[in-house]
Structure formats: structure tokens, C-alpha cells
Symmetry: D2
Subunit: 310 residues, 4 copies
Amino acid sequence: MTEATGTPTSDDLARMAVELRNWGRWGEDDERGALNLITENKRAQAAALVREGLSVSCAGALPVSRGLEPRPGQHYMITGGDQVSEEARFAFCLDSFSIAPHGPATTHLDALCHMFYEGKIYNGYSKDEVRTDGAQKDSIMAGADGIVSRGVLLDIPALRGVDWLEPGERITIAQLEAAEEREGVRVEPGDILLLATGREARAESRGPGAPWDGLAGLDASCLPWLRERDVAVVGCDGITDATPSGIDEWPMPLHQVLIANMGVHLIDNVSTERLVAACRERHRYEFLFAIAPLRLEGGTASPVNPLAIF
Amino acid sequence: MTEATGTPTSDDLARMAVELRNWGRWGEDDERGALNLITENKRAQAAALVREGLSVSCAGALPVSRGLEPRPGQHYMITGGDQVSEEARFAFCLDSFSIAPHGPATTHLDALCHMFYEGKIYNGYSKDEVRTDGAQKDSIMAGADGIVSRGVLLDIPALRGVDWLEPGERITIAQLEAAEEREGVRVEPGDILLLATGREARAESRGPGAPWDGLAGLDASCLPWLRERDVAVVGCDGITDATPSGIDEWPMPLHQVLIANMGVHLIDNVSTERLVAACRERHRYEFLFAIAPLRLEGGTASPVNPLAIF
Amino acid sequence: MTEATGTPTSDDLARMAVELRNWGRWGEDDERGALNLITENKRAQAAALVREGLSVSCAGALPVSRGLEPRPGQHYMITGGDQVSEEARFAFCLDSFSIAPHGPATTHLDALCHMFYEGKIYNGYSKDEVRTDGAQKDSIMAGADGIVSRGVLLDIPALRGVDWLEPGERITIAQLEAAEEREGVRVEPGDILLLATGREARAESRGPGAPWDGLAGLDASCLPWLRERDVAVVGCDGITDATPSGIDEWPMPLHQVLIANMGVHLIDNVSTERLVAACRERHRYEFLFAIAPLRLEGGTASPVNPLAIF
Amino acid sequence: MTEATGTPTSDDLARMAVELRNWGRWGEDDERGALNLITENKRAQAAALVREGLSVSCAGALPVSRGLEPRPGQHYMITGGDQVSEEARFAFCLDSFSIAPHGPATTHLDALCHMFYEGKIYNGYSKDEVRTDGAQKDSIMAGADGIVSRGVLLDIPALRGVDWLEPGERITIAQLEAAEEREGVRVEPGDILLLATGREARAESRGPGAPWDGLAGLDASCLPWLRERDVAVVGCDGITDATPSGIDEWPMPLHQVLIANMGVHLIDNVSTERLVAACRERHRYEFLFAIAPLRLEGGTASPVNPLAIF
């Protein structure tokens, strides 16, 4: 560990990956990882948090284009109004879209097969299970029945008294715990932990920035804390990882350890703006949280529209 | 009305479309239609139905292929395990998929722009709002914040004492009310009404059938009942319409009147198999129901994975 | 060899694959295979065959759809006339299409990487060169500079005095040579051999048939003849192979031996209708033939519009 | 006309569009435009130019990607080597690609429907013929039988004694005629005129530049000369137009007048590098030129690999 910052070194991380690893914890055939921590009881308790009936979407607009630069998705009309007579009582429009869900601005749930670690994916399956015909193991189907649990938002900009964190800023365990205290919540087993870094507020003020500008996120030193708390899913308005990470061979230590080793699903590019507003207004940072990934067999991710319900 | 069956004639339906029409009911600029019937209070009551914490997915597998016949969607691996070394600690897979959400086997939510009626879409907007660059009005974004309400399942095969309804069979108001009575529920304003016809049980026994074989669904005579009960959304393991409808110019009267005239969103190709099993086991036919359409601006539909939570 | 028919057995074919193999013939690093047989001199002689200036397309319509069943390709309008004012002097339309070139009705040139034989592709490269990120060897770029040579059409239905061959009928060496004699041509090194089986005439009369109905084509016993004549490319209105082949493990012996072992590019689903008419009318069966595959790096095929010029 | 430069004003161009217009010249139902100028005799004369048998591709690499930024096309492997056993004698790979042919770096032939002028496309058809289900008039099928004629290259950098023209530089009639004289050729009716501006040489030296940096091309004052010479097709390593054009309402006067009014097909983003080298080496600037657009019904363009044959 580098003394000044507490950020682990590359060797620390290699050790940590093995120590925190959940391979085998839920059986040799498991493909669900930390989703196993969401029990029926947990879900029922989460539903009991709903009082007002407010539903808040935590997805950004699906970033599809209709032009010559279709990044990362496209939306095409198959049949439009231009093919329909004014008289017809039976007529309809159709469309089609394509999307690469891991796109850098797409709100998406990463499947556990998304990250390879030394030739393996979560639970020790071989990288070769991810083939041109789709992932044979650890696909997005792990969440096919819906991921519904208690959601807890940790609002780091509010803790710090700023509008947003700057790209590259790293959140520490101390800050996570300070945020818990400030909000009167405690992250518990089976929770879906949501992290706000103020990315959207920054983008509105400063422009969206480029992927290589970096993102605020967790310091790699938070990994043992996440294991101790046994979170089921982590979502962030960035990608959970602070980038650049500043660690050789570990450009995304949270992705590398959480997904491949700990079996924790991540939601990247969560839209936290509406959620933060709702939480601050109510001084309530826990809610029912529902993620409904598409049932895409063999998929390595799904675009999602996660809902927080108060 | 044809006396023998009660099924409306083409002229009856043209009158009905105007009489049941909700254009202007929620304001001239409205694009949400009957979703306005889902109040916060309604949502809170729905959440209170959750006792056990069981989450049931009501979507079928996303029908994508990876072969030469990509109907109606495709799934492609961008980066697979074949590009990754055994040593790498940082490596990942990526994929991409395309889908035409209205595909005949895709669990999808129809946007209100999906159906044109005499050159108009819901609330009287022109068909020309649906352009090659996407729907400018009544797009799928009406449901962007999530559609969360009480779900009520009417289990018609159980009512009839059969495993499934045959293609083309039409459910009547009398049967809907008999099912309510049998189940001890009553469909109320703002509800999401789910209809089981046993399509999946039939497909497992007899094969999937072709689109032109027809589907069981509601008789067009149910339209006034749906307006009276003020349902917010209707979902079915078929397409809500019984096909063939047997009425000239009205191949899908429920789609034609519910979507374009009444502003009611439909979910086609709901997977009801797991839901029916859960309801029968509990003798409980109401639950929290959450639909999270992708935030696809200008979209005419979204593939969805609707969740019923008990 | 099976005595009655002359059709080789599976063992015969395994021997033949090795005997006829051109691996190493044009160097260890070669990726062009029999295209090396098309010399500049050959091309100049082919151009000298042009007398009238008639250009005949040998492609069928690109089989794209715009509906919900996009097999095997799709065509979408990005910007159409519905977005343009009547006054604009600067306005334009844009579109996009996708295609899986090996589709069963697409006129396409197979790259030499298309077929794997015992884990290898042409010239002995490993199957693992064909990765999720494209073919690293033997891609369609072998033909990037255009494939221009003498084309020779062998009109088998005319030889037989029929309008078309039936699915599964197998053309023999004797028939190829009888067709040469009848037409007054001889297939020579570097030629592009085109085979008419009357598939389009049959489809117009009997309907298109399904892929599993089979196709007329060459008997596997023709392989040594093709090697002896040293053709550069073979095209057919079917897929060169007669299907079913009737030989275990060898569903497409021509594809298996010609592409993977001999390094001969094939053009599948050539439209021969216009070409046959032009040849019959002129009693001339040789012409300048030009194939211009798209420069698709890493591609395993290209849709093409081959031109015969008289 | 602005005196200093000879570049037409917006009003000049509006007059010119009408004066040079070829609507009706080849009949009221015509959709081929200036392709009608390529007679069989013309094609036969062009073929007679072939002496050596050298084939030169004039296309750049199809700009497809396999990553998260698919601009403007994508290439996906359907079945790769990772799905094939080492033993199989029958195994194959398949792929799929999508492309928006008008992409800013794609060598493509524009269909005559591509440009709208005051609500019309070539020959006076309505803009509304270009619908979400494809162009009903003036589609790329005009070139379905192949476009084969004499090609003439005008090598402007050589004329000017430079390696390349700078973005925005405009070629005048005087320069076109000086190039003719220098090369000993004369552009004649039915020719395919190819213009080299040195774009690739510049890109290799200075980087590719962004679309908004502009391109060298023809000054709008060349339009009457192109009409007088009756060229059938114009191709350029840019987009024929110099951009920016410097004329209000006329960002691409060549596209606006040539395609929509004169019915001349354009090839954008021709790769002239190999062609220029071949011509300079031989001191020969005329050759057989073959363009084989895909038979894409309703298409507004086709990616092409045009071949110059010496």
C-alpha cells in the first residue's frame, strides 16, 4: 500500500483479488454471485420502504443516433407516418434499434462475464466460455428474474459540500462511512449501493468531457469494505472506478475485483440527478430499487432503466 | 352489433372509437394517456401488496439470433475470450445487439404512437409526427420514469378449466367478470391488467405456431368495459387482440381503439407462465407490477422485462 | 469411389483434399490462392474479348428487408423525404443497411477463410486466426484489387435440353466436357468458371424452395478436373455444391476442398439468368468478367455484383 | 457571378440549376440520368483501352469498426474459429456487417435520389418518393447492370506541381483544361471523370482532418463545362465539391446541381492514390473503368470498389 494515499499497489491488488474472491461461495455451478445475497426477506423489507409511491428513473437517454455516426447505438424507423394514408383505421409504425450496451454513456448492467481475470471469469469459468455465439457462463441472464432490493444512495458531493467531484477524484472508506453517518443509513448485506459523484451536474456546467478525461469514483482501497458489507450490486453515475486509477495493470481495479473476483454486478452510467434531488428533498437515502435487465441469452450486459421507488 | 356473438361490427367499432376516445382528457399536450391514472397514491398502495419479496419476470427470452436469419433481432460479440491472453488481469468482453421491439415474439411495451387511426395518433397528433428520425410525439418516453402500479392477473384458462385457449378464441366481458369473482379481485382505475390465455402452455404442447395461426385474446366488445374500469395498461401473453378478429378493416380492434383512441399502453407477448404459477400457488392475483422501458427517445416501443413482486 | 455413381466416398474425399491441396504452392505467406493464376496477360486477353460493350450483371437483388423479419439483411432510411421542406435547395436523404453476406440468397464471394478443414484454413493457417475481431488471415481482402479475368459459362440445362436441373442433381466431368464441346470453349488456367443450373427459371416456375430442398451443382468427382484445369474462381447460380451431397461428413465437398484446400474462391448465388440469355443469343460463352468485392478488412465474404462484359 | 473569383453567386446557381437541368431529356420516366450517355459503343471503345491487364482498385478500406464507436459501419463475426473443433472437416465462419454508405470516408456511389432540390429529385419526382421503406424512384438500381465506360483521370496536384491541394481549394475550368492538355486527353460524352486532389497524400502527411476542415474540389463555375462535356459520372478523392463552398444556401453546389438537376451520379471518397501512381508511371490517363454497385432496391447509395483497368 502506498503510504501517502492508502491506494493499494498492483501487488496489493493481486493479493486482494484472491482474498476477497467469492468463487465457490455459492456453489461450484453458481452464476449469480452476490445476487445471492438478496433474499426474499430482503426484498420484502425493501418494498416496505415505499411510502409515497414516487417512481424515479435512474437511466439516461439511450444514446442512439440516426445519423452517420451511430455511436454507440442506432435507431431506425421501419415504417413511419409517410407510408400511411389519412383514411386508414388500421395502420402502424415500427422501428428497430441496435445498441452496444457497454457504451460509455449508456446506463447498463454489466454481466459477471464482462471482466476476465487471468483467463477466468467469475466463479473460475474459463474465458473461452465467452464465444462469438455469446457467453455460455455468467451471462446477463443471472438477473433475468429482476434485481429488486433495498437501494442506498451515498451522496458524496453533498458530504463534501461541492456540486460535483472532479474527474479522477477517489472516494475513500472514510468518506463512505461519513456519508452513511450524515444520511443516517448503513450499507448492509444484499443492498444495492448507489454512488453519486455529481457527474451530470458537472457535464451540464462544463460539458460532457471525453472518456479519457477520467471519472470520479471509488479508490481501490474500498474493496475490502464492499466485501465486508456484502453489497449485492454497485451503481454509480460514473463507472464505480475512479479513472485513471493510477495503478499499473489495474486501469479499473473495482471492475477487475468486484466483477471477476467477487461476483458483484455493476451498473455503469447511472443517472443520479433525479435520485439525488428526491433523496435530498426527503432527507431519505434508502428506497426500493428495481433493475429489470432484458432477458438476453448469452449477453454480456443489458441497457437498463433502474427505478428507485419511494 | 352482431346478435349471435356480441362482437361489434365495423360500424360499431368506428362509433366506439370516437365514444371511448380519451383525446384531450388529460390536456391538449398530453402524451401519457391512461398512464395519468397511476397516481402516487396508487403506486404506494401497490407497493403495500408486497409481502414475501418474490420477484417474477414476465418477459420471454429476447428473440435474437446469431445466425443468418436474424429475426427479429441479432446478438453479436464485439470482443470475446478468443482475444484475451491467459495472463491478463485487465481484459473484458463486449457485445452488441439489435432488435425490432415489435417482433412477434418479443415482450415489448407499445408506445402510444404505434397505432395510426385515420391519420392520427393518440391525442389527435398527426401521423406525420412519426418520421424517419423518430416519433416526435407519443413516443415510448411517456413511460420513461417507470410504470409502477397494481398488477391484476385474470387467469382465463383456470376459469375455463382448460390448459389454454385456442388461437382465435375471444374472451368476453362476462368471462372477465367471472374471473374477477373467482379470484376475488376487481380491476380498478390505474391498474395494469394482465391476461393469461395459456399461450406458452399451448406452445410447449403443440409447437409455437405461425403468426397467421391466430392468437386468443379479448373480444372487441370488451372495449367499453376497459374504458369504464379505466385500466392504465393492458398486457397479455398474446397481443390482447384475438386474431383473426373477424371484422373487416379491424384486424386488431383492441390495438386500434386502446392505443390510438384511448391512450392505453399495451404489453405484447408477456410471459405469463411463471406469473400464473405464482398466483395459483398463493391464490392471490394482485401484486406490485413494475415496467421499466428503455429511455429510447423517439422510440415506438421498448423491449421490457416486467416484474411482478409478491 | 462408389462404383455406380462415380461419387467419391468420405475416405476418397479425405485423400483428395490432401492430394489436390494448394497449400504452399504460392508461398508460405500467400493468402490469395488460385487468384495467383490470373496474370496480367490473362486479364489483357480477357479484355480483348469485349466487342459490343454489353454489360450484364450477375447479381440478384440484395436480400434486405425493412420489416420485422430481417433475413438476412436490413435496409433502413436514416433521413427521408418526410424531413425535408418543399423550398430547400440543399437537402438530402441517407440510409443504412446491414447484411450477413453468406445469406442463402445473397450473391457473394466467399473468402478463403470461410471454410475450416481439420482446424485449418487455406494455406495451413490456424482456425484461431478467425476471431471475434475479424479474420486475421485469408480475409476477403485477397480480392481487394478486383478479380478480373476471362469468364466462361457452362450452360448445363442447354446441354441437357431442359429448363433447369432439379435440386440435388449432380453435374459430372463428362457433362462439363460435353458443355465445353457444345459451346466451343475450353476452361483454362486462371479462368472464372460460371455454372448455370437453371435455378432462377425453376424458382419462377415452381417457387423459390427452402434451403433444405437442395440445389443442383457439381458432383464431388469433379474436384480433380477443377484442379487440372486450374480455375481461379468458380461461381454458380446455386452454391457450386450439389446438396444434399449424399456423403457423410461432407455436406459440401466442393466448399470443403475448393476453398480450404485448393484456395479457390467461390461465388454463391450468382444470378445467371441474364448471362445465359446473352450467351445463348450470341452463341458465345466467354467474356470479360469483373468481380469487385468491397474492401472489408477481416471479412469472410463480400456481397458482389459481378459483371460479364461482351 | 462574383468578379474576382468567377465563383457563381447563390442567384447564379439557382439560374444555372434550371438551365443545366436534364429533367425530361431521356424521357419522363427516366431514372438513369447521364448514365444514358454510356452507349454500348462507348463501352466497347473503353474496353479497347486495356493493354496490360492491370487492375487498380479505387476504393478505400470500408470504414467499419468492431468497437463501441461504430462509425459509420460495423463488422461482426457470427461464427468464428472459437466454435470449431480441431477435427471437423466441415465447419465454417460467418460474419455480418452494417454500413451507412454515405459515411464521410466511405467510397460510395450516390444514387440520383440522394439530393433534394426544391422538393424534387432528378427528373422532377417528388421528395416524398424517398420513404422510410426506401426510395421508390431514382434509387441506386439505376446502376444495377454495372457502370462501365472510359475513365479519365485529371491529376490536379501534378498540374500544379504540388503533392496535394489544401482543404477548400477550388479547381477551375481553366485548370481542368490545362490538365487535359498536359495529359493529352479530352473529357468526352459518357466518360467517367475522376479528379485527384491529393487528399490521401495530405492525410498521410498531416493526418486525416475532420469533416469540417473542408475538402478541395471543383468550383461551382465548372458546372456548365461538365454539362457541355456531358460526363456520365464524376468521382473524386473528396466529394467533388470544394468545401466550404463559400456560397449561402449552397454548401455543396456540385451535389445540388449535378445529382438533382443534371442527373449525374457522383462517387465520393474515391481512393485515387494507386490510380494516380499507375497513370503517372504510364503517362496514360484513360482506362477502362467499372463500377459495380450492389443491387440494393430502394437504396440511396452503394459502397463500391471501382476498378480501373489498364
